[in-house]
């Protein structure tokens, strides 16, 4: 095992410990109504009755491998041949344009092959070749399943990003995170079920990347800007600026009392009952949310592990959130306020990609390491990748054009095999040729790992059943542990 894993001296904490600590935390606030939670959870289990809260946990279709998802989203299209898909053949044919790479790209440049400006080394027991710009992630390769045969429908950012995050080229469908929370609920009612984060710029398409579209609003992702985040402002009106906590409790009690008097007159209106519970939850969220988002509560060694980058802070927040039962966290990269960070690769792979890797590599490795140390990696699926990749041929002098024919996505933890590679691009890395994986297949696989059958996770809207995978998708069984 690489030395890296021993850097954090914190004793591992089991999930059970963690949950009971969180529970105690609420108890000590002296505010939580334990009853409210147990009622909610009981309601969910009664057949034929709608759960009182849309976020109450729901049983999966079958035993899941993973319980939570962290998506490390890389908007703009990281180049596969400069990161994880090592292609020495490019150097041998530098400047040439063999038939295999003579396919139209977005800007349809007709240039020849451009060798990666970065060195590659073998890492881990699996001997995976990784670019020198990802030195930290390189130490985790034995926990990672690389999929080199990804492909998607179009080589334009906006549509391809929608495909990756909502399974459709237009932003009119629910996001993957919304589907997951709809399918499984959340394990912590005091936090949003799905949190999306990025430093400064939101990924192109903004809300649609974590939106609920036609699913009920409770399944929408909550967006947090890592750059200007303040724990007490994560949600709108999270903090009461008018009353001290006890006084606020009295006021909330009055509201509950009046609502209960009203409820007594209106027999059997489940909505009213639900609204009383929602108010109690809101009350608790005021304290649970700032606590969850407060990274200052971490030990120095943990903070050191993640390092100073904003993206790394997002990775650390992701760990804190999934630890508290949040179902899905999406952490998108941006740089200098640019919403499709990796697109800087058009002009300059050396400058663009190196800077971007520097901005995220340490945080990503720290997240994998930290999850593993805490025993959370087994049940947490981590997914890394962009909406497409970049061509091995050059665009201009130093850059690369979009490539939707083939690109790399990797997954770790959550029931996938570590240290493996699935699928392949051609010898130069342009097109996926072996064991091709469409984005729909990736989605089907993610849902499968979460215990959901992508063909059965449906929502009826306007007279039709919708799915994340539409009418496509097949589970990639070979990467599952």
């Amino acid at each position: 095992m690489p030395q890296y894993y021993h850097r954090d001296p914190l004793p591992p904490i089991s999930r059970r410990d963690m949950l009971s600590r969180i529970g105690a935390g609420f108890g000590t606030l002296g505010l939580a109504s334990v009853m409210a939670d147990s009622r909610l959870f009981a309601a969910a289990e009664q057949p034929g009755r709608e759960p009182a809260s849309p976020l109450a946990p729901k049983p999966p279709h079958f035993a899941p491998k993973a319980k939570r998802v962290i998506q490390l989203f890389m908007p703009g299209g990281p180049s596969q041949v400069d990161t994880f898909d090592y292609k020495p053949a490019i150097a041998a044919h530098a400047g040439q344009r063999p038939a295999a790479v003579d396919r139209k790209s977005l800007r349809n440049t007709k240039n020849g092959l451009m060798p990666s400006p970065f060195g590659f080394q073998q890492h881990g027991q699996c001997g995976k070749w990784v670019s020198d710009i990802f030195p930290h992630t390189a130490r985790c390769v034995d926990d990672i399943a690389f999929i080199h045969s990804m492909h998607t429908d179009i080589p334009e950012h906006a549509g391809a990003m929608m495909m990756m995050n909502v399974g459709h080229l237009q932003p009119s469908r629910p996001s993957m995170g919304a589907w997951l929370v709809y399918g499984l609920g959340s394990e912590n009612e005091n936090l949003p079920g799905f949190v999306a984060m990025s430093p400064r710029a939101q990924p192109r398409g903004k809300l649609a990347n974590w939106g609920n579209a036609f699913l009920p609003g409770a399944y929408a992702g909550t967006y947090v800007n890592i750059h200007d985040m303040r724990p007490d402002r994560i949600l709108g009106d999270l903090k009461n600026q008018y009353l001290a906590r006890d006084d606020q409790r009295r006021q909330a009690d009055l509201l509950e009392r009046l609502n209960r008097l009203d409820l007594a007159r209106q027999t059997a209106d489940p909505q009213l009952d639900a609204s009383i519970q929602a108010m109690e939850m809101a009350f608790r969220m005021q304290f649970a949310v700032p606590e969850a988002f407060d990274v200052d509560r971490e030990t120095k060694s943990t903070l050191d592990l993640y390092g100073p980058e904003e993206y790394a802070k997002g990775c650390l927040l992701a760990r804190r959130l999934i630890e508290r039962g949040v179902r899905c966290v999406q952490v998108s990269l941006s740089i200098d306020g640019y919403d499709i960070a990796w697109d800087t690769g058009h002009d300059d792979i050396v400058g663009g990609h190196k800077r971007l890797a520097d901005a995220c590599d340490r945080g990503i490795a720290a997240l994998l390491t930290d999850l593993k140390q805490r025993g959370l990696l087994d049940e947490t699926l981590v997914i890394w990748g962009g909406e497409f990749g970049r061509a091995p041929t050059s665009e201009g002098q130093k850059g690369r054009d979009h490539d939707h024919y083939g690109f790399t996505t990797w997954m770790a933890g959550g029931g996938v095999q570590g240290g493996i590679t699935y699928g392949a691009t051609d010898e130069f890395g342009l097109s996926a040729v072996e064991n091709r994986v469409h984005v729909h297949d990736l989605h089907a696989t993610i849902l499968h790992l979460m215990g959901l059958d992508h063909e059965r996770l449906t929502y009826r809207y306007s007279g039709r059943d919708f799915r994340l995978t539409d009418v496509q998708g097949r589970v990639i069984k070979n990467i599952i542990a």
Binding site: L106, G217, R250, Q251, L261, A282, M285
Partner: protein, 782 residues
């Protein structure tokens, strides 16, 4: 059905050709057959048959390659091989990964591709025995299915929504005392058959709140409540009739009901945030047009026609109505990639067809974009018949002023520019020569400056513009194979849906065809348009529609709970000249509408969903009515109609005037609206969901907006300094809930006010007022 014949014949002809072709081919030589057996068949078996043969578990793309004729006929994407013409054979494109990428598991070797190419070049030799004309009907390509698959007559006869609207005699009922109108007979007869009885009449105080929110989206004042209650005691039907008439005449009626239509129209101020990011700065003119149309009780068929073709059928003002389509997303491509350009155009067309289909016809037309509709009789060709209309239509900003006024304005502006240029040129020349102007030049400059000032003063005001449609062409478009506009199939003549108009439907030949489309959608013989609207109006009064999938009257939609009532209402609506206000009267002046929402255990057990209408459904206010009510009871509401939208949540204007972005993620107003279930305005909205989430309570408990309303309410309650706290609590309950408080409620309130801490920021009364405004009772209509 003679009308159908020519079309069927056409398809049969096409079908027959495909069937006949193989037989015409010359027999292949033994060498050729051997080449096929040795080289080609193994390739097909190995790489294609998993998905493209009789034995495929799931046949993909309706394509079979286990027979020469089957390969020629092809699948959803058209013919797979053209014998002798490798360049025109989709199969080769696919294995070269130029269009499709086949086989998906990995590219064939170049030698294998060459084998297939040679085989097609040879004319695709195949042994005679393997020709499989005996294909099952379900294997047939879609074009064949279209010919054989639709029994239009049967569809029109058997699916309820395609049957003509029939006005049946209202049924007899046992309890003759209950019905106030024919509506009640339809409802009561169903209840009686189920052994259920209707709930008792709602109390006047409850009823008056319900009618106010239903018709104008605002609560009644205590004085209005008292007056209604008093009239009710003398003559309840009279009281209701007068109230309904008065509210239907209120300009606020149009504000309330326009909003329901704006949901159908997926109305927004643009800012899609995607490849549809344009701002629609004048969208509000469409909103105001709809408000005015509802207030004027514009006949609904006219209303519909103007939405589709107001620029052609009406005057310049009516062209604004085409904002119905023009305000939808118009997508661009963000890189100019040809596939993406085609995709953007296809998506824009899909928006128009979906909005037309679900919004007006209750049909999920957009499902027929890539293939024939899987459930409804909507062939893919019909989709492109209608898409062709919008393919010849452009959406953009156009002046509302007459052309002369526009010209005058533009000429005047040009004159100003010319004058400015003369002055600048002269000054520059002098400056460049580094000298003072000569007296002659100075005189000229002074003259021009005076002229400029005069021109500026006399400039006509800028003319108004709105987003609207205009015709841009007059041609049919082909079917897009699998929805891909870059793969044209057969032509789709512009005309109306065959299920509704029959095969002899005249082609749309008047420019884009929008005028004819408008006539067809609004035609009295069209069984859907009026029914769909009547159903929506019922839904907004009862919380649930008679057809509980109000934008889908197709096979997968729900059937009406009261089909005869729906038809009776629709027929009555049409007889009234499609007067929506008359329809409101027909519904509101019924015992059914005026029932209480009292719970009934036995009825609940028999009919938990209240499909039979044994009580009024209690309904949560939508976000607009709730916020408007907050401002109304505190006395802060700005009652003015129309104009530009605001992006300030703390504005005093009605919520209808909030700025809304298509994705709900641009304005502060978006955020507020989304919190309380305002839907995404990206596609036509059939009904509002209600979700209860903790974040709403964070708003109720913590937001400055609620605190401001609480303060305003306290001010209003304390206007009369002589009153006691008990009096003020009385007044608060009457203002907010249209009822006096119970003794217990008064005690609870007084105790709180007496003992709550007097925070610097919020007095006990303000805290109490905030609770009253945030309470459930304020948010519900029962």
């Amino acid at each position: 059905m003679p009308a159908l014949r020519p079309h069927i014949a056409l398809f049969l002809f096409a079908f027959a050709l495909a069937e006949v072709c193989p037989a015409e081919d010359a027999p292949f030589s033994a060498d050729q057959i051997e080449f096929f057996e040795a080289k080609v068949r193994p390739l097909l078996v190995k790489h294609c048959y998993e998905c493209h043969s009789r034995d495929s578990k799931k046949l993909k793309g309706a394509l079979r390659l286990d027979g020469r004729d089957l390969a020629i006929r092809g699948g959803d994407s058209g013919s797979a091989i053209s014998p002798g013409k490798p360049a025109e054979s989709l199969l080769l494109e696919a294995v070269r990964w130029e269009s499709f990428e086949m086989p998906p598991s990995g590219k064939l070797k170049p030698a294998e591709v060459a084998t297939l190419e040679k085989w097609i070049e040879l004319g695709a030799p195949w042994p005679a025995e393997a020709n499989s004309s005996a294909a099952k009907p379900s294997d047939a390509a879609p074009s064949a299915k279209q010919a054989a698959g639709y029994d239009w007559t049967k569809w029109r006869k058997e699916h309820w929504a395609f049957q003509p609207v029939k006005k049946r005699k209202p049924p007899r009922v046992a309890d003759e005392a209950w019905p106030q109108s024919d509506v009640d007979r339809f409802v009561l007869s169903r209840l009686e058959r189920a052994g259920l009885s209707p709930a008792p009449p709602a109390e006047p105080r409850v009823l008056v709140r319900r009618i106010y929110f239903d018709l104008v989206g605002l609560p009644p004042t205590p004085a209005e409540v008292d007056a209604f209650v008093a009239t009710c005691e003398r003559d309840r039907p009279q009281a209701v009739r007068e109230l309904v008439d008065r509210l239907l005449a209120s300009p606020h009626y149009g504000e309330r009901w326009a909003r329901h239509w704006l949901d159908v129209a997926r109305y927004s101020d643009g800012h899609g945030g995607f490849l549809d990011n344009a701002e629609y700065a004048h969208a509000w003119r469409y909103r105001d047009w709809v408000v005015a149309a509802f207030n004027a009780d514009m006949p609904f068929d006219k209303f519909i026609k103007l939405q589709i073709a107001g620029d052609i059928l009406g005057d310049r003002r009516d062209a604004v109505a085409t904002g119905f389509f023009a305000l939808g997303p118009t997508y661009n491509s963000d890189g100019g990639d040809p596939d993406s350009v085609a995709q953007a155009q296809a998506e824009t067309l899909s928006d128009r067809l979906d909005t037309l289909g679900r919004g007006m016809l209750g049909l999920t037309l957009a499902c027929a974009r890539c293939h024939d509709h899987k459930f409804d009789p909507l062939p893919q060709q019909d989709y492109y018949s209608l898409a062709g209309v919008f393919n010849n239509t452009a959406a953009g900003e156009s002046p509302l002023a007459p052309p002369e006024a526009v010209d005058a304005f533009n000429q005047h502006q040009q004159a100003i520019k010319d004058c400015e240029k003369r002055i600048n040129d002269a000054r520059n020349k002098i400056n460049n020569e580094k000298r003072e102007p000569t007296p002659e030049e100075q005189r000229q400059l002074d003259e021009w400056t005076a002229e400029l000032s005069q021109l500026r003063q006399s400039a006509p005001p800028p003319y108004a513009t709105a987003h609207m449609l205009r015709d841009s062409g007059a041609s049919d478009m082909p079917i897009a194979i699998r929805g891909d506009l870059r793969k044209p199939g057969e032509q789709a003549p512009r005309r109306f849906l065959r299920i509704l108009a029959g095969d002899d439907a005249p082609p749309f030949d008047d420019a884009s065809g929008r005028r004819q489309l408008a006539e067809a959608v609004a035609a009295p013989t069209n069984p859907l348009t009026a029914r769909v609207m009547v159903n929506r109006i019922w839904m907004h009064h009862f919380g649930e529609a008679l057809v509980r999938t109000p934008s889908n009257f197709g096979v997968l939609g729900e059937k009406p709970t009261h089909p005869q009532l729906l038809d009776w209402l629709t027929a009555t609506f049409i007889e009234s000249g499609q007067s929506i206000k008359s329809l409101h009267r027909a519904i509101l002046l019924s015992s059914t509408y005026q029932m209480s929402s009292t719970f009934n255990e036995a009825a609940f057990r028999a009919d938990g969903d209240n499909r039979l209408l044994w009580r009024m459904n209690p309904n949560r206010l939508d976000v607009e009515s709730w916020r408007d009510a907050l401002l109304s009871v505190t006395g802060e509401l700005d009652p003015n109609l129309g104009g530009e939208p605001t992006d300030r949540v703390d504005s005093r204007r009605r919520t209808l005037y909030f700025k809304v972005s298509r994705n709900g993620d641009v304005f502060a107003t978006d955020e507020f609206l989304r919190l309380f279930d305002f839907p995404l305005m990206r596609a036509s909205v059939e009904s509002r969901p209600t979700s209860i989430v903790p974040q709403q309570f964070l708003f109720l408990l913590n937001s400055p907006f609620m605190v401001e309303r609480a303060r305003a309410l306290v001010k209003r309650l304390h206007a009369d300094a002589a009153k006691s706290d008990a009096d003020r609590i009385q007044l608060a309950y009457k203002l907010l809930y249209q009822r006096p408080p119970t003794a217990e409620e008064v005690d609870v309130g007084r105790a709180y006010i007496a003992t709550a801490p007097d925070s610097n920021h919020l007095s006990p009364w303000e805290q109490y007022a905030q609770v009253l405004l945030g309470a459930n009772e304020f948010m519900y209509v029962r």
